[in-house]
Symmetry: C2
């Protein structure tokens, strides 16, 4: 191989590494460990990878790669693929950032809505009982205050649910188009 070809290859690697670094660094937002972030970013430039390839590429242990890959599968940033002829499992990175965005945030926001709405519901029931049962005006006033505060907050959770729905259905892209061309 010629000297300049060697150099070009290195430049390509350098270019990729810049992007890999940036992706990995911003992936803390997705709640993954630095190694899972590095793994995803690395896979972003690969067609597919096996656990052993990941291990040698990132110079980490196999269980570590196994854990990272599972976490990435959970948020659907990595999928298992069938490769005929190979006993090794092969994985591919989701390269469409729109899909990653949708899956991740919808998952998280839904969890937030579910968890908080349930708590609010229970709390409001308790507060209503206090309002009904108590004869002490100050206590009733306080219970009402909190009840109203919780009622008010439901507006937000309902909105968040609507947001999730509009992302899932793709309706949001009618409001905010993806760009010059279609998907």
């Amino acid at each position: 191989m010629s000297e300049s070809t060697e150099k070009s290859k290195m430049k390509i690697e350098e270019a990729k590494d810049k992007v890999i670094g940036a992706i990995a660094e911003t992936m803390d937002l997705y709640g993954v460990t630095p190694s899972a972030a590095n793994l995803y970013a690395t896979m972003y430039f690969k067609d597919q990878m096996t656990l052993d390839e990941m291990r040698s590429e990132l110079e980490m242990s196999k269980p570590s790669m196994s854990t990272s890959v599972r976490k990435l599968q959970e948020i659907e940033m990595v999928k298992k693929t069938f490769t005929r002829g190979s006993r090794k499992h092969t994985y591919i990175a989701e390269k469409n950032f729109f899909r990653s965005f949708m899956v991740f945030y919808c998952q998280m926001w839904e969890r937030e809505v579910k968890m908080n709405m349930e708590a609010i519901k229970e709390a409001q029931e308790d507060l209503i009982n206090v309002i009904k049962e108590s004869s002490e005006p100050d206590v009733v006033t306080e219970a009402k205050k909190y009840y109203d505060q919780l009622e008010e907050s439901k507006t937000y959770y309902n909105w968040l649910e609507d947001l999730v729905a509009s992302i899932r259905s793709g309706k949001i892209f009618e409001f905010l188009p993806k760009g010059d061309e279609q998907e």
Copy 2:
């Protein structure tokens, strides 16, 4: 104080605690520590708090409260207020979840866009140089492939920036109204 009033007060605390627990638990999404999450959730039901009140309420050290409060101020979930007559700093929690949502996600997404767009720009420059300089067809093809992949990904980052803009401007609420009544 009567026995039943005592009981009612406990019920109110119980109701609040349910919501406090739920809010705190889902706040990992906002990248804060569990104590900062607990602190915010506690403050959500308070008018205002001083560091000493936080310390006694959460039974934690003052520096810990100081750190948590600073973190919460960073993402604008807590603001400092002026209380005349008191030397102690007083803080209030942002109780409008819409505002918290806007500030937090816009901040995060903008960081993501900025960081990745910069890396992409640099990487694409490198790749163009390879394409121009290299005489090895395979290398050129590879460089082109990555260049196109990066170009494609810009669509997403542009969209994310549009999303941020529509949240900041409030335009998103034309598409997804906040609920029955106005803000």
